[in-house]
Symmetry: C2
Subunit: 197 residues, 2 copies
């Protein structure tokens, strides 16, 4: 998605070979026009997947997810994230390890919001090691529903979450796939070097 790539190039800050800061438009401050375009793009890429509901995880997934839900005309539910949950009835939970924060969180969704006949589109802002995506897929599976696909705003394609999920047979659509953050520079997977003839 060109508008997103351009925004990453102009406003993203490469903090290290693995960390890209996009807090000016995606995960702290948010650009609503870009969020709407992202929602429309996800909706278009999954329009034939029979999606009945969007699932995301607080907090940065919510804006792209609500825009996608609006375009696909389905409801959205977001998983809550807690360090530890007191036991509560009616919740489906999964564990998610954050490599960035070096801590394990429990994520949860009220079981009444995912039915067995649901086809769920999972939306998230980032995909790196895939921990959050696997946790959300686990919740969908525990509910007996089907994962209809995964939509990611920015995929760090140099980490292997995307590869693992695709190998499991789930369709993953990432709007920007980053090949490398080396030398302080963002290179996208699509940036094929020009072949000289």
């Amino acid at each position: 998605m060109k508008a997103l790539q351009n925004k990453i190039l102009t406003d993203g800050i490469v903090l290290s070979d693995t960390v890209l800061k996009v807090d000016t438009f995606l995960n702290h401050q948010m650009d609503p026009v870009l969020m709407k375009e992202i929602g429309e793009e996800f909706a278009s890429r999954f329009e034939d997947a029979g999606i009945t509901k969007i699932l995301t995880i607080e907090s940065s997934g919510i804006a792209p997810a609500i825009m996608t839900a609006l375009k696909l005309n389905v409801e959205m539910v977001f998983a809550r994230k807690r360090k530890s949950l007191t036991l509560q009835d009616g919740l489906i939970t999964s564990k998610v390890y954050s490599f960035t924060k070096k801590e394990e969180n429990e994520i949860s969704v009220a079981d009444k919001f995912i039915q067995e006949d649901d086809v769920i589109l999972i939306i998230d802002d980032f995909l790196a090691n895939g921990q959050a995506a696997f946790g959300l897929m686990d919740i969908v599976q525990k509910a007996g529903a089907k994962v209809g696909g995964i939509g990611i705003v920015i995929e760090k394609a140099f980490q292997d979450g995307g590869k693992q999920i695709r190998q499991s047979g789930v369709k993953v659509e990432s709007l920007a796939r980053i090949q490398s953050l080396s030398n302080g520079k963002v290179t996208f997977v699509e940036d094929k070097p020009t072949v000289e003839v």
Copy 2:
């Protein structure tokens, strides 16, 4: 806002005289069409306030806030909530006590996202004691910016946050104002008893 009141009456669950559960459409599962209408309503109520940015707080404020931002064509920033923050440069922080969870959270916004010439519209899903709203107002004031108004999806008008904020001279627009949750029944402030002639 009639569509919201109707949704509260059909889908809201009164858990006690002070607690209304709206997790089917506002703060766990979200209805994207209603969120869009809420955003349009906030935008219309504050269209002459010279708003330059929307400020909300994770997580349930994000969807109504991004829809409002889209309609007003300004950016949105959400405050992060943590039990305790390690000292970090570049953050404006405030303390918010949650009566529901009986704990104090620190909320924070990167200082680069609020400038002195900003006129901020604060959006949140609930207003009861006003703790979150006061925390967000505190952040705006610490940044040297101006609070242009506060937009609330559901105000518990029987608690005094709204009254306190209005007395301080800030315009508060609540799309549904609940007078009472007594006897398991939602009564709105607008529900004037019919006067017999």
